[in-house]
Amino acid sequence: MASITLEGLKKTYAGDVQAVKGVDLAIKDGEFVVLVGPSGCGKSTLLRMVAGLETISDGTLKIGDRVVNDLEPAERDIAMVFQNYALYPHMTVYNNLAYGLKNRGFKKPEIEERVRHAARMLEIEEFLTRKPRQLSGGQRQRVAMGRALVREPAAFLFDEPLSNLDAKLRVQMRVEIKQLQRRLKTTSLYVTHDQLEAMTLGDRLVVLNAGQIEQVGTPMEIYARPASMFVASFIGSPAMNMVPVEYLATRSTESLLDDLPAGTDVVGIRPDDMHLTPPSTPHLVVESTLALFEAAGAESHLYVRLSESDQPTVIRVSGQPPVREGETLRLYVAREALHPFDSASGKRTGG
């Protein structure tokens, strides 16, 4: 167990392509940090740099108190779970788990004991004599986790480990990973492009965009106060609606927009902050036309167009309101639900 410290970490590929443009991050001992971002944002590259599978172009990487920039992956005391599991196809599950221990010169009884222990924890004991190809996706996933577990490393690195599973299994494994990490208290770095996975798993999230950190914080901090328009639209589903202040100013009779921070020209509104009935707090009122109604069981998504603007907007309401497509709807937005942004810089205004 150890902390992981990234100082000005950079990755430059041949031809001056910068995949990671200077990342500073301190991961505390036992913390579960999720790197999240769209594809191509450099999150996997960053993880692979921590693992030692990519060279570090610039900056310092510390695991514990040790600078590990130039160490081989095996010497960094980390274990990694790969997206496609990367199980050795010709070895039994037992040997898959034992291989890393054998290479490190563990004695047979100790290997046996650790493998059994990990297998029991992951409930894969009955598969120990099977080959990976005889296992289902979820079972392979467990074996891949087991391979990381037996080593009892200082840190776990997960590279989108759930993206090859079907939706139901993904939720189940997500819960299990979380519980396992809670129990073992091993420092973990987890890469995903799925914002829901990120929100539910991480103690802290690191939102990456184009090789740079956009925001670091607990899931709820990031959800409640996104630092930029990018984070705002990336975290939360359906994505946050962006409405120009100018438009709201002409539509809304009340002068609620006067106290928005200086420089604000766009406000973000979460789909669940747009209501069909007026809230008790000060609020804005906007007229719109319902373009599409989507019932999703416990909740419904309303795709509307704000009147005299073609701005497509999504609203999420619980249950199934009695509305018809084509109908005109009045939308109520509480003043405190507005997220002020400056569209030129993309940053949140007013600190």
Binding site: A51, G52, L53, E72, P73, A74, I78, A79, M80, F82, Q83, N84, Y85, A86, L87, Y88, P89, H90, M91, Y99, G100, N103, R104, R133, R147
Partner: protein, 282 residues
Amino acid sequence: MVENRRFLNVLTHLVLIIGVLVVAFPVYVAFIASTHEAGAFVRGVIPLTPGDHFWATYSQMLGSGWQVAGAPPVWLMLANSTIMALAIAFGKITISILSAFAIVYFRFRFRLLAFWIIFITLMLPVEVRIIPTYAVVANLGMLNSYAGLTLPLIASATATFLFRQFFMTVPEELMEASRVDGAGPMKFFKDILLPVSITNIAALFVIMFIYGWVQYLWPLLVTTQEDFYTIVLGIKRLMASSDRVPAWNLIMATVTLAMVPPVMVVLLMQKLFVKGLTETEK
């Protein structure tokens, strides 16, 4: 075709049977000829049923050979051929799998150049470079030796290329996982890559064994002592006696014996062979 009509069934079987007959008949005639006495084959009517000289012919060929035609015992030639074919097959596989490993998994200077130089040697089989190769082998004093028989035939661009293509389909994560698991490059090669390639190795082994077995021109050049004659060479020598009536029974017995080892290799490795050529299991 998924059609299942009686007429078509009969027709397809007929075609297949004719095909089998065309292929198998000469082999059958060779075997029959080897069971008759020497003159039976040149009398005008070729016998089509087995004769009674089976033991006599085969024990003569295996045991003492046919000294008049300068042919050593067949067992010696079979042994020579086996040694040569095995050495060529193992040598080719060892060298090509290692060079493919280097080309695919290591980033070194002139890697691509190295690959293309290997690839270009596809255009230079032994027949093309036979005189310089002979000169080199002769100068190294390797005439009439197993080394001289096999070494010049061992390098294989084809096998290197096949292994390269196969390695490129092996997911890179396997290598990365083994790195994280603390395996160095050669350990990865031995523990992971080799077992994963086993079917490909088997397929290549069969092909290369037969390639080695049927070599004629090169053994003809580098061997002058009977001790190093290969079986294919021996057959030719049995036939080359121009001033005598060819002893067809002895020749055909040798031919029949020469067919046995390659057939055995194919039969034994059939399953792996087909798997290696068709299946990519990972």
